[in-house]
């Protein structure tokens, strides 16, 4: 298998430079580099959605306004869940460095649970807003809000699937130089999702309530 050959070539240099486990193989390093490319692109995507929301946020037509809808308590819980899950994903990467299969899987599991809590709470939130009369087409504010925050929620859902798949692989095969880049990159994605949320809760929720 091609990656095994690269495993041999990459290992010595990686060892010498004391790189992290995910960077020991050429394949791993390539994957990490490619993923940073991807994150740059994702930043631009979310920037467009943010720009759209910023422009349209006052056009509430005859529908509900942010003041009538947003609850700070719920948004704070969402924020807390996501930031904490970012921290636990770091613990998972640490465990991976120590090739501790159980701890890696355990911390990934905690991360997934916290993320799931976020997702379920967000779904409840959207259902509540819809019940209050904020449909997708109710107003320009509604459309841009649901698109931006919904897109983020979709990223959370996708990230959860990804983390789950990686966790299963770690449980089955242990921590290897093949698994390590996967764990590292999946948690990198998760941190990015958290970064986007930091902007969302500031710009969308907090600033709309001023």
């Amino acid at each position: 298998m091609a990656s095994e050959h690269q495993l041999t070539t990459g290992l010595n240099a990686g060892d010498r430079l004391r790189l992290g486990l995910a960077s020991r193989t050429l394949e791993g390093r390539n994957k990490i580099l490619a993923f940073w490319f991807f994150l740059g692109g994702e930043s631009v995507l979310f920037a467009s959605l943010f720009a759209t929301f910023l422009v349209l946020r006052h056009q509430t037509a005859n529908g509900p306004t942010p003041h009538e809808l947003f609850g700070l308590g719920l948004v704070f819980i969402l924020t807390f869940l996501l930031i904490t899950s970012s921290l636990t994903s770091i613990f998972a990467v640490n465990a991976m460095e120590r090739t501790d299969r159980k701890k890696t899987a355990a911390w990934l599991g905690v991360t997934i649970l916290l993320g799931l809590g976020f997702l379920l709470l967000q779904i409840y939130e959207f259902a509540h807003y819809a019940h209050e009369g904020l449909g997708f087409k109710t107003s320009a504010f509604a459309s841009s809000f649901y698109t931006l925050v919904g897109f983020h929620g979709f990223h959370v859902a996708f990230g959860l699937c990804w983390l789950t798949a990686v966790t299963v692989q770690v449980v089955r095969n242990g921590v290897t130089t093949v698994n390590a880049p996967k764990v590292f990159i999946a948690t990198l994605y998760w941190h990015f999702v958290d970064v986007v949320w930091m902007f969302i809760f500031t710009v969308v929720y907090l600033m709309s309530l001023l």
Binding site: G20, L21, M207
Partner: protein, 103 residues
Amino acid sequence: METKVGHGSVQPEAEGHRSMRKHIISYVIMMVISIAAFLMVGTNMLSPGAMIVTLLIMAAVLVFLQLADFMHLDQKGHLYPIIFIANGIFWGIIFIVVIFIWP
């Protein structure tokens, strides 16, 4: 010298306890700033204008901490990631400002 290895796309050195403490400190700071932001808005502490500026600064700090600490951008060998993210932020700011002031 091995020049092909590890430049710009590596996961950093295996972490020790010192680094772990840094992560926890960052986390605590992030939670404190988040709580402060929510409290400020909830209690209407500042005027809207001042509030927007403060909130944006807080968000920038949060994002910076997340990028620098959690994503290891403060460690060596991360020139490429920094370039890519900076590029994303650059275009992001341009998009937002232009669409905002478009007549």
